[in-house]
Symmetry: C2
Subunit: 185 residues, 2 copies
């Protein structure tokens, strides 16, 4: 049993579904924890892990995600949810108006922690480009302006199933599942 | 003696100069502390105070500042230094291109802490508008695109002395000085 500390029920369902076939059950703890201002997602979850470890007994899972736009020096990065709430997808598109360099990547980091033991971090990435206008209503956050490499549609135009086949979060969850499978032997 | 925890020597000089006439000496501790992701500066310094109090003996001072643009839902706010490093003043101007609503405010918050006692928070604001293009090379951060209310020039076009007569940081430092003066009796 691993405690997944997240206020997001959709995320909990998604990760639970990935781990269920391995016989690993997740319990949900619906609780926010302090998130650091930092340049890397990994620093955010490592700092939070120190605080969460004081409150949760046994093994726990936390995660963080962000969209990193190359031509904007990695902006909005770890602040993606704040930037989504303030500028929105339209603001991000405006920042890239007239620019040909539109490369971006979504990143998710999972941290598996347990008080007194060194934490393990699992990363998932999805590379792509920023669309010229938002398209589609699926997913959440910046999904409607992100076109993954090899696709023509944005994450916002894909079904959850299509997105989950290639998404950063799915890849990070797979890395985590791989570790848990090996550990079980 | 109060310990001012800051990595910024210019800021240390500025605040020292404000408090010297009161016979209050500041010691500098050149050390970064964890900054929280939050919507309000006050939440950032209150969280940090809990950590700093464990490391500093006696009374200490910490601060945080940000630029809050009304038409952008308060963006970049507590993330101003990150947004300055990634988008820069030109990025902020681009986000407001063609918009008539250009109101913004600079805010500084000082926190005076001492382990085991409730902290005191002092705030300073400076209202103004975002210029259409960056002007001047004075100050730092977003100063070249901020025109304080009642002025025609940006903070970047003012001398340090002119800026310090009206700035958010100067006002917050005055509120702090006022408190220290009263306390001394």
């Amino acid at each position: 049993m691993i405690t997944f500390v997240t206020t997001n029920p959709g995320k909990f369902r998604e990760v639970s579904a990935k781990l269920a076939p391995l016989g690993i059950r997740l319990a949900r703890r619906d609780r926010a924890y302090p998130e650091l201002q930092a340049d890397r997602l990994e620093d955010v979850v490592r700092f939070a892990a120190g605080l969460v470890a004081k409150e949760v007994r046994g093994e726990f899972l936390i995660d963080d995600s962000g969209l990193f736009v190359e031509a904007l020096g990695g902006f909005p990065g770890v602040y993606s949810s704040y930037v989504y709430r303030t500028l929105g997808p339209a603001g991000l598109v405006r920042l890239l108006q007239g620019r040909r360099e539109r490369a971006a990547r979504f990143e998710t980091v999972f941290l598996l922690g347990n008080r007194g033991r060194p934490p393990r971090v699992f990363r998932g990435e999805c590379e792509g480009t920023i669309a010229r206008i938002p398209r589609g209503h699926g997913g959440f956050g910046f999904d409607p302006i992100f076109v993954p490499t090899g696709a023509r549609r944005t994450f916002g135009e894909m079904s959850l199933r299509e997105k989950n086949a290639i998404s950063h979060r799915a890849r990070a969850a797979e890395a985590l599942a791989h570790h848990l499978r090996r550990r079980r032997g």
